[in-house]
Each structure stands twice: as C-alpha cells, then as structure tokens.
C-alpha cells in the first residue's frame, strides 16, 4: 500500500546539514500492524511524518497504492491526508476551544461533509469509543484516557486506510494505555493499517512487524509480515 524508495530527509542547520533519514526503503501492506522503534533522535518521528505526508523527503519517492505522490501539490497532499490517514498523538492534540464532538467533526469538515452528517458520524464514533455521555464536554474536562479516545474517534472520522499513532500511550497510565492498545488492535482486526511509534518493547511485541531505526537508517525489520516478504523475495 505504501512504498518508500530511497527516502532521505536532511535539515539545514547553522552548523551544517543533519540527515534525519538516510536512504530508507520500506513497503507497508494494507492491514499491517507495524511498530516503529528506536532511541531518541533516531528518526522515528521523521519517518512517521514522511509516511503521513506531514513533511516532504529531501530525496526519494513515495508511492501510495502504486501511485507516486512525491511531487503532488500541497492541496493534493492535504486531501490524501484527510482521506487516507488518521493521526493519534502522544499529547492528544485536541483543540481546547472545541468540544469532544466538535473535535471529531473537524476533519470531516475538511472532507466537505455537510454539518448534519458530520455531527451524526461524530456522535456515532464517540459512542463507539465509549464517550457518548461526553459529547459536549471540553477536553480540559476530560481525563487523559478520555482525551485519547476522542483523538482515536477523530482519527477515524473519515474512515482512513492508515492510522499513524505517535506514542499513543506515552501520557497515559498503564491501564488506560492498555485500553488504547486494545482499540488499535481492534481497528487493525477490521483491516485498518496501524503504524505506531513506541519506546515500549512490550508494546512493540504486540505489533505484527517491528521496524528498528537508528541514526536515520532502518536497521531491522522483524515480524510475520517481514518474514513472509523475505520468503517471497527468496
């Protein structure tokens, strides 16, 4: 579904150029549950940003469903993000000015859905994550776990193909974190591709595939899918 070929990302700093990613080749199939792991500064977030088209690579190509989207204009990238990707962040990143319902409605507004349809779907999604009684509450009135569930509902607003989760349990206690992981697994079971950045090896083991990044390079690619691919290549 997603293919990166020779992708590099460099940043120009005062003292010189920093390579955040170096010549990464990566293929992610539909329905995979992939954990991206590595030490701080290894390039995990950069890789997630490239995958989520939140940033553009300095070199290399990006294929989505075999279609090269590398050089598409910004509005097309925005449309692809809106239609195909959902994001879950470590710090939830909900808008404090909007209620839970309005936060979930936001991405549907960019998709052009009319107000009534946005509201109805947002109500449905929030009830699916167990927050039907918190529709009009502001994020500041919610616990971390509840906010992350709102974020999950928001990520699912436009029925995306891929969920990118950057340390989704990082700011949550373990029991709440477990709830979130189970939700992600449940979504994956329904066919949603999950890409999750995590420091936690235990969480990484729950993924089908584990990518290890160090110093901007993909060091290892473990898991069932990886093995199957190697077998095919062989």
């Amino acid at each position: 579904m997603i293919t990166l070929k020779g992708v590099s990302k460099e940043y120009e700093l005062v003292g010189g150029t920093v390579a955040a990613l170096k010549d990464v080749d990566l293929t992610i199939d539909r329905g995979e549950y992939v954990a991206v792991m590595g030490p701080s500064g290894s390039g995990k977030s950069t890789l997630m940003h490239i995958l989520g088209i939140l940033d553009t690579a300095t070199a290399g190509r990006y294929f989505l469903e075999d279609y090269d989207i590398t050089s598409l204009p910004d509005r097309e990238h925005a449309r692809i993000r809106n239609k195909h990707f959902g994001f879950i962040f470590q710090s939830f990143n909900l808008f404090s000015e909007l209620s839970a319902l309005e936060n979930v409605m936001l991405p549907m507004g960019y998709a052009g859905l009319p107000f009534r349809k946005r509201r109805e779907r947002a109500e449905l999604l929030l009830s699916e994550v167990g927050l039907e009684h918190r529709l009009h509450h502001m994020p500041t009135m919610m616990s971390g776990g509840e906010q992350q569930r709102v974020a999950i509902a928001r990520a699912l607003a436009n029925d995306p193909d891929v969920i990118l989760a950057d340390e989704p349990t990082g700011n949550l206690p373990s029991d709440r974190g477990e709830e979130i992981l189970k939700m992600l697994e449940s979504l994956n079971a329904k066919g949603v591709t999950i890409l999750m950045v995590t420091h936690n090896p235990e969480q990484g083991k729950r993924a089908h595939r584990r990518l290890l990044i160090r110093d901007g390079m993909l060091i290892s690619d473990e898991g069932k899918a990886a093995q199957a691919r190697e077998a095919l290549d062989a």
Binding site: T46, H49, G52, L54, D55, T56, D74, R75, A78, R79, R81, N82, K83, F87, F89, N93, F95, E97, L98, E102, N103, M105, L106, P107, G109, Y110, A111, F115, R154, N158
Partner: protein, 493 residues
C-alpha cells in the same frame, strides 16, 4: 460560524478579549485619523474650487482706499484724499481691457423699514426730548411731523455704502419737499400716518427693522448670472427718475412676504421705509449664497442724478471689473492700473484682486490639510504595523494548532482563509469604528480651518482606502502563517 476550524479561531479571539479589543481599537484610531485626513484634504480642495468659482473672485475691485476690504462697512467715511472720487463714468475704463466681461458698481447699503414698533419708538423719543425741553434738536434722521424735514439719503448718493448727506429744508418749501419726496425722504411718522399707510393696498409694512443689501448698476446682475423669478431686474432707467426701485433676493422676499402673500405678489408693491416708499420691481431666483439671497438690490444713483455735483470728492465708490477668464486678472489689472494712474495720478487709486488673497488662503489651507493627512497616515501606518505584529504573534501561538489542522487535512489555502477571516474581521470592525470616529473628527478639523459643510462621501472614501491598507497589512501575516510545514508546526511547544 459552522466550520469547526472557524470556531477555533473565533473562540480564541473571544478568549483574548482585551488583546482583540485593543487590536480593533488600534485599527479604528488609525482608520479614523487617516480617513479624517483624506476627507479634510478633499473638502479643502473642493471648497477652494467652489470659492474661486464665485463671481466675487473673478473681478478686480478699484477704489480709492488702500484695501478694498475696508470698503465693506456701510458707513460714511472720509477718503484719504478728498479730492479723488470714483464715479460710474470711470467704468468706461473697461473698454481698454479686452478681457473685462462686465464692469459695475456694487456698494453696500441698508434699508430701514417703518412699522408699528419703529413708530412707537420714535414717539417715545419725541416725548422724551419734549420733556427735556430740547427744542429743535432731533435725533439723527428723525423729525416731528410738520416741522423741518430731515433729509437722509442713505446709500443713494455717490459715495456708496451707508453714506449720508443731511440737508434741512424749511417747512413749507414745496420744491425742496417735492425734491425730497422724489428722492425717498424720511418723514417722521405718527401712529395715524401709519394707520393710513396700512390702509393702502399697494403698500407693505415690513415686520422687521433692517435689511442689508447693495446699490448696484444693472451689469451686476449679468456678472453674477442672476435671473428674476418674478418681475424684472434693474434697468439703466432705474438710476434716473423719481421711483425708488428695488429687487429682492429670494430669501429676503420670503422674509418680507412673511406668509401673508406669495413672494411674486410683492412685485409692484411698495415697501414703507425711511428712505421712502421702495417699489419692488423684481424678485431673484434662489442663488444659493446668503449674500445674494438675503439681500436687496437698489439702483446705484450718482449724486449728479439726484441733483448734486457730479464729483464731490466726498464719497467713495468701488468699481468692479469682472473677467470671464480668471487667468487674465493680472493682465487686466495692469491695464486698469495704467488708466487710473493716468487719470488720477499715482497712488490715488487701489486695485485689489480678491482672487489672489483667496488663493493664498486656499493654498494655506491645502498645505495644512496635506500636513494633517501626512500625520494621520503616519498614525495609520504605526497602527497597522502593530496590528500586523499582533496578528503575526497570534499566528505563531497557534502554530501547533495549524500543524494539527494540516494533519487532519487542512490545505495551506484553508489555513490562509482561516487567518484571513480573522484579519478581515479585525479590519472591518476597526474600519466601522474608525468611520464613527472620523465623522466628528473631520468636522472638527474642518472647523479649525474655517471650512463648513463638506461631503460625507469623502469620509467614506477615506474609510474605504484605509480599510484596504489595513487588509494588506493584516493578510501578510496570515499568508506567512499558512506557509508552515505541518511537521515543524507540530514540533512547536
């Protein structure tokens, strides 16, 4: 606003109400000042054009005084050189100046009407003098009926505004009395006389005491493009003969008619005055200038036409030479100056060009207006720099939120639209409030420069122009805020 993204911006705007209010106020003050400055300059230039379009600024005034302005007061004055006096015949100098379209006389004068109040006051005065045992001494211009007749010629003699010559005739001198009657003499009037006058159908008793106006030669009406709404204008024959003809300005006629009759019915009627019975021969169309509409116009009559010496050297007359092309004023002044110098000698005659004085005033006002505009635009610029800075910093504070919006599918264009909406709202609110400031501010500025009236359209135009500048300065930070990379924005704290 139904858009969730719009709600983010509007709720953030409302949550920082003090900052948002100061933002709008800054725009309002800048727009108000700038639009007042625009309006002031536009009105100043327009007022200047209108002023110079008046016939009063397309003519040269020739007098024996050092300044033509000194001749505006309707009082008898002794000229500096009593041997020099200008007469109607001096208007012939116009034949030497090809650019002179009209040459005429226009001297100030007053009519004093007789009515019940004035008669009562006179009676009281007579009684007072009688009680004091003052025999034969009369207040100026007044005499008991049947005694010496005091002849007051106000403004009708050569010498112009309000000049008076007093001659007394012995009682019973028929020729003198007749002559006095022909010239419009004042007669002390009793209440009985007044009642008899009121019974005359063709005589109008005017309710008020005085009316200011002018003694003119007929060319005056041509020079000022005046037309009669009723009756006719003065003719050359009105300056001779016995009748005291008068033409009334539109508002003067309304005041005299006082709702008792139609204005046009005044034509042919006589007005009872101390100068005699004045025959109304015409009423002018409304001209739009107080000096014309509220005035009367009587024939300028030379002292010779009244039986006096042709050139007494006692009164002063101002001659006016009007040109059709104002650019020819200086050239015409040179020609007239040569002629009058050759006729009267050097330094005896003054030629004044009211247009040049008016132009100096207009230029001064325009200069002040330009300076005020510069200062007000500077104020607008400073305000807009601050507004732009505040909007930029607001955008920076919202940087992470913008990154999240982009992650959720907002394009740069959508983000630009969001910030632009905020900027537009600030610009519109500030401009409306600035417009409210601008109207009284521009009126105050105009009053300070001695201007009145002025079009409110200039204020609106100034507001619109200032709004455009405000939008330009506000959209720039919005555009800059939309150029961020989502990944970098989301890394922001």
């Amino acid at each position: 606003m139904r858009s969730e993204a719009g709600k983010v911006v509007s709720r953030r705007f409302a949550s920082r109400i003090v900052e948002s209010g100061l933002l709008i106020l800054a725009v309002a003050l800048g727009v108000g000042a700038a639009s007042s400055g625009f309006s002031l300059l536009a009105n100043t230039l327009k007022a200047g054009e209108e002023m110079l379009a008046s016939p009063a600024y397309r003519e040269l005034v020739v007098s024996t005084r050092s300044s033509a302005e000194e001749m505006t007061a309707p009082a008898m004055k002794q000229p500096a050189n009593s041997n020099v006096a200008l007469t109607v015949s001096d208007l012939d100098a116009a034949e030497l100046a090809p650019d002179v379209a009209y040459a005429y006389v226009q001297n100030r004068d007053e009519i004093r009407f007789i009515n019940a109040q004035s008669v009562a006051e006179e009676s009281a005065m007579r009684a007072s003098f009688a009680a004091e045992g003052v025999g034969g001494g009369e207040p100026d211009g007044m005499a008991p009926p049947g005694d010496n007749v005091a002849v007051v010629i106000a403004g009708s003699a050569e010498g112009g505004a309000g000049a008076a010559a007093i001659a007394s005739a012995s009682a019973g001198s028929a020729s003198t009395a007749a002559a006095a009657g022909r010239q419009g003499l004042f007669r002390g009037m009793s209440e009985d006389d007044l009642m008899k006058a009121q019974a005359q159908a063709d005589l109008v008793i005017v309710d008020f005491e005085e009316l200011s106006g002018f003694r003119v030669t007929p060319k005056f009406f041509d020079a000022w493009s005046l037309n009669a709404a009723a009756g006719s204008l003065l003719a050359d024959t009105d300056a001779q003969g016995d009748a005291n003809s008068v033409v009334l300005g539109a508002k003067a006629a309304e005041k005299i008619a006082a709702g008792k009759m139609e204005v046009s019915e005044l034509v042919g009627k006589k007005l009872l005055s101390r100068q005699g019975n004045l025959l109304v021969v015409g009423v002018l169309d409304a001209y739009g200038e107080t000096s014309i509409d509220e005035a009367f116009f009587a024939p300028y009559r030379t002292f010779a036409a009244m039986g006096g010496m042709p050139r007494m050297g006692f009164f002063n007359t101002m001659l006016r030479f009007a040109v059709s092309d104002p650019s020819k004023l200086d050239e015409t002044a040179d020609i007239l100056s040569s002629w009058f110098e050759s006729s009267f000698g050097e330094s005896q005659i003054t030629i004044s060009n009211p247009r040049s004085e008016a132009q100096k005033l207009i230029d001064r006002n325009a200069g002040i207006s330009v300076l005020i505009l510069f200062l007000s635009l500077s104020g607008l610029f400073i305000a807009l720099v601050n507004v732009s800075h505040i909007l930029m910093s607001r955008g920076l504070r919202m940087r992470k939120g913008v990154g999240i919006m982009m992650a959720l599918g907002a394009s740069r264009r959508a983000v630009l639209g969001l910030f632009a909406s905020e900027a537009t709202a600030v610009a519109i609110a500030g401009s409306i409030l600035g417009g409210v400031f601008a109207f009284p501010l521009s009126r105050t500025m105009q009053s300070a420069l001695g201007l009145s009236g002025g079009s409110w359209l200039f204020v609106l135009a100034g507001v619109a122009l200032s709004w455009i500048l405000t939008m330009a300065c506000s959209i720039a930070p919005a555009w800059q805020n939309s150029r961020i990379v989502p990944a970098e924005a989301m890394r922001a704290a």
